[in-house]
């Protein structure tokens, strides 16, 4: 053996103030299988993340394939030799894509030649038994199948190092067996493959070559399982591990002993009779019968998606049953039965507590909601914190805690109101052995001492064996219900696990989950014939194939959730029509009223002239000044006129007289327009009066000679002054900014939130390829949107397109590139979808509405806003849409506006690449 595959020295990693790894050193050679074992939160995942290159190295040395992982260059060069299956069932898979599509998209990231890729995909799917399900979306696979798909995706590029982070957590016993069988087969075919597995399940670890026992970020032991057993003089690895723990931790551990169940009290606490649940045509639960007695621990075993969770939800009243009946504590289950809720504690599979509340706050909130009075509440919370060993972390956030502690907290929360029944949906999945033992101590205490009835679902055989009775569920049906001992004796020849496997096979479960016998044969083929040019010239540089893979995947996802695209297209059309018609600059029908102190024909004539114009509408006359004030203040009057006493007489005499006018200044632009109209009508009235007086002396035809000059006004581009014509070309840039930016921003942040962004960290995919691939489908959608908007604008709304459509389309292409670039930029530094929505809304609506010339010409702006407007792409696209739609311009006249658009794309993309982290910190 030349280099070890992995070598680390004094590896140290911290999250804020918490030490995850404190000086870990070990080596992993070619062809070895090393198991990382230890409780939750000891740094197993951090270690794997570091080796995969998903996390940034902080301190210590880490060499993988002979080079330091601190060097980006080296990481990129070797990342295709590593396969990483992160924790969390299929979190890195794309849920809406099918099995085959997922596999293909992973293969494309590693630049496999197409024939090779297809060959390997087919072989892998056949080997894992997934071939019949190639068209099923990954999100609808069972846990075991998800992990098999994950393994396929990891093996598709023929790696030399396989990193598996708790691959069988949350997987049922049968699927777990099959998974390890697969790994064994792969290692037989590829003897050089080095495998590093993190696991919290000690039973699995017995089959590993070597073990690295971790605790508190430090290595407790690095040896083979057999040696470990010998050294600690233990019968099982679980015991051995516990023996390795520091004394004070070990003391807290007590082996689980189950006192016999109390004699049958004969009180049935949970009962179900032919309980069924259908979702559409799919029957999730099919005629389940249950009778669980007080104080019993009733186990529920079955593969993922077999209906366990659905059954439990029906029993808690969260989900109405489609058929059958259920009783809890002697009362029929009803969703609005708040009193029964008080007597039942429920820990759901997905329940992750309130991540933003501290441990203590979580407990206190639940105590309050269950109506515990103040004094009792504090004592109870303190009690539970102590009992579940959470006092030290009481003020930490649950998200910062390891899974085991989180699960303890969830149980503590479920116990806050001292329920008579506990319904626990896989409470121990992902929890390490020590924590699990402690958890069971609690359950036994609750059951035996406090008479709490416990209904628990689990994947662990040893947990199932501890139940008083258990039942096995498969495909919505309950296959068997008995005590563990009976079951083991009757079906398994003394072994509970064998009994399960036998029953499942009988039920046909094997058909779906069993691997075909001949794994080695198809696997051998692709492995033996390594494709030419393997790993040459990859990793570095820019790959169109990877880009196309990301873009293709995104397009597929958009296609699978068409509502998003439909919402964007239809919504933009609707908004264009509504806002185009709604926003009118034609200020008319301004309401006015007159306070007439004169009451002569002259004053009435003045008011009539005003009322006669289309700009003003008369309302009942004003009585006095109080009336005037009141009506102006109410906003129902835009203009109030006061005609003084003796107005008519002064007019006749020719002595100066003044009319008072009050304009509602609350809306300055309306006031300004009103003032302009009023002055115009006033002048007109004066001239007409003048002319009427002098008319007899003047020759006809010279009526217009009142003014010394004529101003001939030409309204260009929109001579009929139609608001719609002016507004629609202005609305298009607004809509084409907001919607594509929002769509793009969310698509990237969603990957961050769901976890599939890890593929960016550990595959040869570069940030530019990733972002560009995300951007392209939405830019294409945006361009389609533009064409659709243009079509509706010109046909339905009658807006002319006087200039070149080609120019407008070209500009739209660049503009949606910039708009989606905005989305990328927002998403590259935002962590959650809410912030992305918020950020996009805040950063686009205001500048687009205010600084891009939508209402105000850019040349009117000053200072900061002028500066923003000059670089904001909407400004320039607006010039182009107005130019092409209304001004009849072609490319030549608008070329100046193209340059900023052209520049915006690389600038935004470049900034996004810089802001997006290449690794987790």
């Amino acid at each position: 053996m030349s280099h070890p595959v992995v070598r680390c020295r004094n590896l140290t990693h911290r999250y804020g103030g918490r030490q995850a790894l404190a000086g870990v050193s070990f080596e992993l050679g070619e062809g070895q299988l090393l198991g990382l074992v230890g409780p939750d939160g000891v740094g197993k995942s951090s270690l794997l993340g570091l080796i995969a290159g998903a996390r940034r190295l902080q301190r210590g040395q880490l060499e993988v394939f002979g080079g330091s992982m601190a060097m980006g260059e080296h990481r990129r060069a070797i990342c295709q030799r590593i396969a990483y299956l992160p924790q969390g069932l299929g979190r890195h898979l794309h849920a809406s894509l099918t099995v085959a599509e997922n596999l293909r998209s992973f293969a494309a990231l590693f630049s496999l030649p197409r024939p090779e890729r297809d060959r390997r995909c087919t072989a892998l799917l056949a080997s894992t038994g997934l071939a019949p399900f190639r068209e099923r979306p990954a999100g609808q696979l069972s846990g075991g199948m998800k992990q098999k798909l994950g393994l396929c995706c990891a093996l598709v590029h023929d790696p030399d190092l396989l990193l598996l982070d708790e691959p069988t957590t949350g997987v049922d016993p049968l699927a777990r067996r099959q998974f390890w069988q697969l790994i064994a087969d792969v290692r037989r075919v590829r003897p050089a493959l080095a495998v590093l597995v993190a696991t919290a399940t000690m039973e699995e670890a017995a089959d590993f070559d070597r073990l690295l026992a971790l605790d508190g970020g430090q290595v407790l032991a690095a040896t083979s399982p057999a040696e470990l057993l010998a050294r600690t003089a233990s019968a099982s690895l679980e015991e051995a591990f516990i023996a390795l723990l520091p004394a004070e931790r070990r003391q807290r551990h007590r082996p689980v002993r189950i006192p016999p169940a109390p004699p049958a009290a004969a009180e049935v606490v949970i009962e179900a009779q032919s309980l069924s649940r259908r979702f559409g045509t799919f029957t999730a639960v099919d005629g389940v019968d249950l009778r669980i007695q007080r104080g019993e621990i009733f186990g529920f075993v079955g593969s993922n998606g077999c209906g366990k969770t659905t059954t439990m939800k029906m029993l808690t009243g969260l989900l109405p049953a489609s058929g059958g009946q259920a009783w809890l504590l002697g009362r029929p289950v009803r969703p609005d039965d708040l009193d029964t809720r008080r007597r039942v504690g429920y820990v759901s599979q997905s329940f992750s507590l309130y991540g933003e509340l501290s441990v203590r706050q979580n407990l206190t909130l639940h105590a309050r909601l269950f109506g515990l009075p103040g004094s009792v509440r504090q004592a109870r919370v303190r009690d539970l914190l102590e009992r579940f060993d959470l006092t030290a972390v009481a003020d930490r956030l649950p998200s910062a805690l390891p899974q085991g502690q989180r699960q303890r907290l969830a149980l503590a929360v479920a116990l806050i109101q001292q329920p008579e029944v506990l319904i626990l949906d896989e409470p121990t999945s992902g929890v390490d052995p020590v924590a699990r033992e402690a958890f069971w101590q609690e359950l036994i205490q609750l059951s035996r001492q406090e008479g709490v009835t416990i209904f628990i679902s689990t994947h662990f055989i040893n947990e199932a064996a501890r139940c008083d009775r258990l039942s096995l569920m498969h495909a919505g049906r309950m296959l068997v219900s008995a005590t563990p001992a009976e079951l083991a004796r009757q079906r398994g020849g003394g072994s509970l696990e064998q009994a399960f496997l036998a029953i499942l096979r009988d039920a046909g479960g094997g058909a779906a989950d069993d691997p075909p016998a001949g794994w080695a044969a198809p696997m051998a083929m692709p492995t033996a014939g390594r494709w030419p040019g393997r790993w040459q010239g990859q990793g570095g540089g820019f790959s169109l194939q990877r880009l196309a893979s990301v873009a293709g995947r995104e397009t597929l996802e958009l296609w699978r959730d068409p509502l998003r695209a439909v919402l964007a297209l239809a919504g933009s059309l609707l908004l264009m029509v509504v806002m185009g018609l709604g926003i009118s600059f034609d200020v008319d029908n301004l309401r006015f009223a007159v306070l007439d102190h004169d009451g002569t024909s002259f004053s009435r004539d003045y008011a009539d002239t005003l009322a006669g114009s289309r700009y003003f509408t008369a309302t009942p006359p004003l009585g006095d000044h109080r009336d005037l004030d009141r009506r102006l203040a109410s906003g129902r009057l835009s203009l109030a006129l006061e005609i003084p006493p003796g107005f008519g007489r002064s007019l006749l005499r020719g002595s100066p007289v003044a009319i008072g006018a009050w304009i509602d200044g609350a809306m300055p632009q309306r006031a300004e327009t009103a003032r302009g109209y009023l002055q115009g009508i006033h002048g007109q009235w004066l001239r007409e009066r003048d002319e009427r007086q002098q008319a007899p002396r003047r020759p006809p035809g010279e009526a217009g000679r009142g003014e010394p000059v004529l101003v001939e006004t030409r309204f260009r581009y929109n001579p009929e002054l139609r608001s719609l014509t002016a507004m629609v070309p202005a609305m298009i840039p607004l809509l084409l900014l907001l919607l594509p930016a929002m769509l793009t921003a969310l698509s990237v942040v969603r990957e961050k939130e769901l976890g599939s962004v890890v593929n960016l960290y550990v595959t040869p995919l570069t940030r530019l390829e990733f972002l560009l691939g995300k951007q392209l489908p939405y830019a294409a959608l945006g361009l389609l949107n533009f064409l659709l908007l243009t079509l509706v604008a010109t046909t339905v709304l009658g807006v002319p397109l006087r200039g070149s459509l080609a120019t407008a389309t070209l500009a739209a292409g660049l503009y949606v590139g910039a708009a989606t670039g905005f989305g990328l930029l927002v998403s590259s530094f935002m962590a959650s979808q809410i912030s992305a929505i918020f950020g996009t809304a805040v950063l686009t609506i205001l500048p687009a509405l205010s600084f891009s010339g939508l209402f105000d010409p850019v040349s009117s702006l000053t200072g900061l806003s002028a500066w923003i407007s000059r670089i904001y792409p909407t400004t320039h696209f607006l010039t182009i849409t107005q130019g092409t739609f209304l001004k009849g311009l072609g490319f030549g006249a608008l070329a100046g506006a193209f340059l900023p658009l052209l520049l915006a794309i690389p600038v935004l993309l470049g900034l996004s690449v810089l802001c997006l982290r290449p690794q987790e910190s």
Binding site: G317, D336, I583, A661, Q669, A726, A841, S859
Partner: protein, 384 residues
């Protein structure tokens, strides 16, 4: 025993939980701060569709004393100093959208005028700039006519003129409530109103979807908590956050930084804001139940926020909109909130004047709340 009883302590406790969630999200807090400071401040610097620094170009083919006086007649703040260009440049600048107006003074203009031949000036208006085109064209004409008249008056200064000096009837125009017709006064408060709407919709709707995605919403339902309590908790807590932020923004940014005098009763306005928030937070929850996933919610939010902001009367006056838009916008809380805000803050209107808006907001809010609650219950698959 009844399933419909409402426990106010639950509403309080769940609301406090919402506040904690928000307090631990620095991004959201930062964005709220940004919205109520930078956005409000920057937003007031714009003056939708008004004559302010309006760009105008002059093609002077006369080069006379009068034409240069005309050039000097266009003054800030309404106009920018006119740009003197030739005919080609005028076309180009109009095409590029750089000028809204272009005035062309023909050759021999002054001479023709003095000869009493009524010369013709050509005014080109970029009618794609509707707002400026409308009010501006008349304004430009008046400036020209006044200047020409003054020129005539100055020429015959020796002879006392009978009607050139003053009009027989003077029109004294005063603007109430905003004597200077300052756009900052108007814009700042409308910005606050817009941010109130955006934030309240977003905070409630997105938070609801996030809870559902994380599964914590379902968990609440195994506890003795009803959907009504959950909804009320979200409404009061998020409403309170926005109310506090809006108050601070009015006091510190609008009154303090922008020096806008607020004439009316701030408490009355805040009471109206609270009522508006009741409606918008309920609407946010309704959108949250309709959208079901964040990306859809983001799009739906834009679809709702844009018309709310643009058609509520905070950008262009309601009177100018087509009747059907006016009627349709009556069900939008923003419309009434904008009327209320203008009435109370600018015109010092009291409750006696704005009670209809309060009533409208209460009605709309109750309707939204009712619909949202019904949907919320249905999506949770639970009653009570």
């Amino acid at each position: 025993m009844g399933p419909l009883r409402l426990r106010w302590d639950h509403v309080r406790d769940l609301g406090v939980k919402e506040l904690w969630s928000l307090a631990r999200d620095p991004f959201l807090l930062g964005l709220i701060l940004f919205a109520f400071t930078v956005s409000v401040y920057a937003g007031t610097k714009v003056s939708p569709e008004t004559l302010q620094h309006t760009p105008i170009a002059i093609v002077d083919e006369d080069r006379s004393q009068l034409s240069s006086r005309l050039r000097d007649a266009f003054l800030p703040p309404y106009f920018q100093a006119p740009r003197l260009v030739d005919a080609d440049a005028m076309e180009r600048r109009l095409d590029a959208g750089l000028d809204t107006f272009a005035l062309r003074i023909p050759p021999r203009f002054q001479r023709d005028l003095l000869a009493g031949r009524q010369p013709v000036l050509q005014l080109q208006v970029d009618a794609t700039r509707m707002g400026q085109a409308f009010s501006g064209a008349g304004y430009v004409q008046r400036i020209v006519q006044d200047e020409v008249r003054r020129f005539g008056g100055a020429r015959s200064a020796g002879v006392p003129s009978e009607n050139g000096a003053s009009e027989p009837v003077e029109l004294v125009i005063r603007a109430r409530f905003n004597p200077e017709l300052s756009r900052v006064w108007f814009g700042s408060i409308m910005q606050v109103i817009n941010q109130v709407t955006l934030l309240s919709l977003l905070l409630t709707g997105a938070a609801l979807i996030r809870e559902r995605e994380r599964g914590t919403l379902e968990h609440l339902l195994v506890m003795p908590v009803t959907p009504l309590e959950i909804m009320l908790a979200k409404v009061w807590s998020m409403g309170l956050v926005v109310l506090v932020a809006a108050t601070a923004s009015l006091q510190l940014v609008v009154r303090g930084l922008l020096q806008v005098p607020i004439a009316g009763s701030l408490p009355l306005f805040l009471a109206g804001t609270a009522l508006h928030l009741f409606a918008t937070t309920s609407l946010g929850i309704l959108l949250g139940t309709l959208a079901r996933s964040m990306p859809r919610f983001g799009l739906t939010l834009l679809m709702v926020v844009l018309p709310l902001q643009m058609l509520s009367g905070s950008i262009t006056p309601r009177e100018s909109m087509p009747v059907w838009v006016q009627l349709a916008m009556l069900v939008a809380p923003n419309t009434h909130y904008v009327i209320l805000g203008q009435g109370v803050l600018y015109r010092s209107a009291g409750l006696a004047t704005v009670w209809p808006q309060f009533l409208w907001l209460a009605l709309i809010g109750s309707a939204f709340f009712g619909i949202a609650l019904a949907r919320f219950r249905r999506t949770l698959g639970a009653a009570g």
